[in-house]
């Protein structure tokens, strides 16, 4: 069972990297979704005026 640390480090790098990327994607997605909803709302208000 020697070198377990290296195996752990490699797995940490891979899954950490992928999860981190997914998180940044999610954050961008959430921000954009908020912008989009806000924009749609203002457009609706303006058109109903």
């Amino acid at each position: 069972m020697k070198n377990l640390g290296f195996l752990f480090a490699a797995n940490l790098a891979i899954w950490g990297g992928i999860v981190f990327y997914v998180f940044t994607l999610m954050k961008r997605h959430r921000d954009l979704r908020r912008d989009l909803d806000l924009l749609k709302e203002t457009l609706n208000k303006e058109s109903s005026k």
Binding site: A13, V22, H29, E46
Partner: protein, 244 residues
Amino acid sequence: MSSAEETDEQEIAEKSDEGPGLLLWLTAAGGIGMLAAVFIFVPTERTEGIVQRIMYFHVPCAWVAFFAFFIVFICSILFLWRREREWDIYAHASAEVGMLFCSLVLITGPIWAKPIWGIWWTWDPRLTLTLVLWLIYAAYLMLRLQTGEGSTRAKYSAIIGIVGALDIPLIHFSVLWWGSQHPSPKIITSEGIGTGIDNSMGITLLVSLGAFTLIYFLLVSLRVNIEKMKDEIDRLKKQRLYSH
């Protein structure tokens, strides 16, 4: 570790308009299958010991990186030919995901090499090629950041995508011949599938190749969704501007 990741992906899938439902479940199944195969099914390799299991992640990462850059090449050609924004989005998403996996290859490579060969890095042709590829596509993504929105950015990045992909075989041969001039230990020669690989190892490698390819498609579809949302916002903003 993968369960946390799956719930994250689920949330996104539920929120987005055209959620990658089937793809998500396929990827989750592939991921679980891969982890089971790598950590339970396959026997520990005799000479290299437990570290050899890194191979089942390292090689698929390299495959996904090359595949992603190939997709960038195809989409770049299609963009210059058809001039449709769609292809630019796909090229961008694929380049970004390819860059992620290329970085993972470059990180896991030394982690694998250190316990086996006793060195972090060797100027083996494959390692050198991966490093140069990383540099090319880093420049490609920087070009995308530097240029403003619009068709100029899409055209320029498409050209770099094509030039970069055509350069890959030339770089491959040049680093291969360059490496053969330096006396270096022949290390990763028997790595290919088939020769000297046990049946169960081959199966495990295939399973993880499949799982990583699914992860690639999932990430690209998420990235594409974001880009399309940006386009939608731009469209609405313009619409609002003109309606006043």
